[in-house]
Amino acid sequence: MSANRESAAGAPAVDTGSGQAVTLGTATSIVILLLLLAVPLFFKNFIIFQLTTVLIYGIAVLALNILTGGSGQFSLGHSAFYALGAYTSAILIEHAGMNYALTLPISGVVCFAMGFLFGLPALRLSGVYLALATFALAVATPQLLKLGVLEPWTGGVQGLTVDKPDAPFGLPVSQDAWLYYFTLVVAIAIYIASVNLLSSRSGRAMMAIRDNEIAASAMGINVALYKTLAFGISAGITGIAGGLGAIAVQYVAPDSFTIQLAIALFLGMVVGGVGWLPGSIVGAAFIVFIPNVAESVSKGLSGAVSGILLFVVIFLAPNGARQVALAFQAMIGGFKKNHGGSNVC
């Protein structure tokens, strides 16, 4: 093994921007929240549906961010957990007649368990090996969903249709607007929980593992436990996003959960900035809107456009949206350097 290969293996797998943190201040958060709440008042149902999709993918990207930004493990296979969550919700709604909202925690728990189980062998894998194993998982997912044995539940190649929920208590909002608010509430709850998780003792243990696994274990951190835990939590949150996705799209089929979805989630994380949770929503907007715009120009163009834009991001702003946010912050800081502390830090 070469000298520089060894040093590459010893270095942290994720460059998280040399410790600079950008968090949204209270004022910024409130403005964003108000804007998000007001959205259904100004837009047509189709746009509301798209924004719901952004929120749902935002949750999935956030989940990936917890795994990669938090514990330094890679996954190119989160489409599998998204699919598992979507199918769990769809099956519970259609076959068991369960309320859609109640299916989400079940999807989360099922995916947490599967993620934890997959995380056990994945423990021994790091960096490129883990990426490889999860990549294979993502490629195999549509085939697993098509299995003849599972067909009575999954509907095989045909998939399952899911009814769209109405607004409860006779609230005067459209189905799309209701689903949007419902997703928003779930997204905010998950976001707050994730922020707290990462700043907790467990979160710091994960980050220590990310930065240097061997040093972390020397400090007495149970590396195996925290790595599988991170995998499980990430998979669980992705499962909730998958369940929401099934309700929003009203349809699950094996071919909606291909490697393309796994790649999209990964791209969303990179574009948003690894380890920066608010970036998840930026990344999600990227993976929802860019393909739409490209597709309207020419059919089949979306992959090429998002690929090229991704290269642009990698070359110009390797830390994604966080880097842009940092630049903004520096600019604002320059304007009000005489006013003491700024509210964006």
Partner: protein
Amino acid sequence: MELLSNQILAGIATGAIYACMALALVMIYQAIGHLNFAQGEMAMFSTFMAWQMIQWGMPYWAAFVLTLMLSFIGGIVIERLLFRPLAKAPILTNLAGFLALFAIVSSVAGLIWDFTIKPFPSPFGASPFLGSQLISTHQAGMIGVILLVLAILFFFFRFTRIGLAMRAAAIQPESARLVGINTSWMIALGWGMAAAVGAVAGMLIAPVVFLEPNMMGGVLIYGFAAAVLGGLSSPLGAVVGGFLVGIFENLVGTYIPGAGNELKLPLALALIVIVLVVKPSGLFGHTVVRQV
């Protein structure tokens, strides 16, 4: 007994393809320490180029050789333009780069040649080989061509100056640089050769799986399984792993009921995970020692 030998021979034929893919993956892994997730898409693109040339009326073997040359140049261009600037970047950035390349290549192929399934000609035909029922002429031809490619590569790396320089650059980049080897160009050369080897695999498997932008998905996963089984740091291991995986795939498909086509990819996934967990260095690779 005839079924068994039949399946093993057919397994060797597809195994030859996996060996090619695995070798292409290992070549790039050796050079830059990353797995090329876009290797299958690159091979698919090369195959489409060959198909286009044949459609334009070029004889098969002329199109074959020209495709190899174009793929070689294409591989070098991709390395120079996109991945050389990322050489010092973290794993994550490189992964994103490979996935971006994956998305671009498959999307562009779909744009140019659309997503309909096209038949691809076989230069050998599909009749039984030498009157035997065991194997078709195309399968025999596949094995023959790939053995030839492997032999050429073996002699190139073993007995030529530039092959030796490439090995040196992969194994000991610092020392290689000190003795005057241009390691950066050796890496580009490795990319070019990997692209060409992948193109061979693509053109030979296309008559079997038919030509379409997603045709290499399964082949790539089996190529990964082969590379991992043989050991990512060993080109010889990749080749042996390829043949073993091909035989394994066919035997499992034949003798385990219900595992036919449905479970093909999940089996490859299981194989990858098991090998990585039980023996991450593979059959022929050497263990990487990590330093703090």
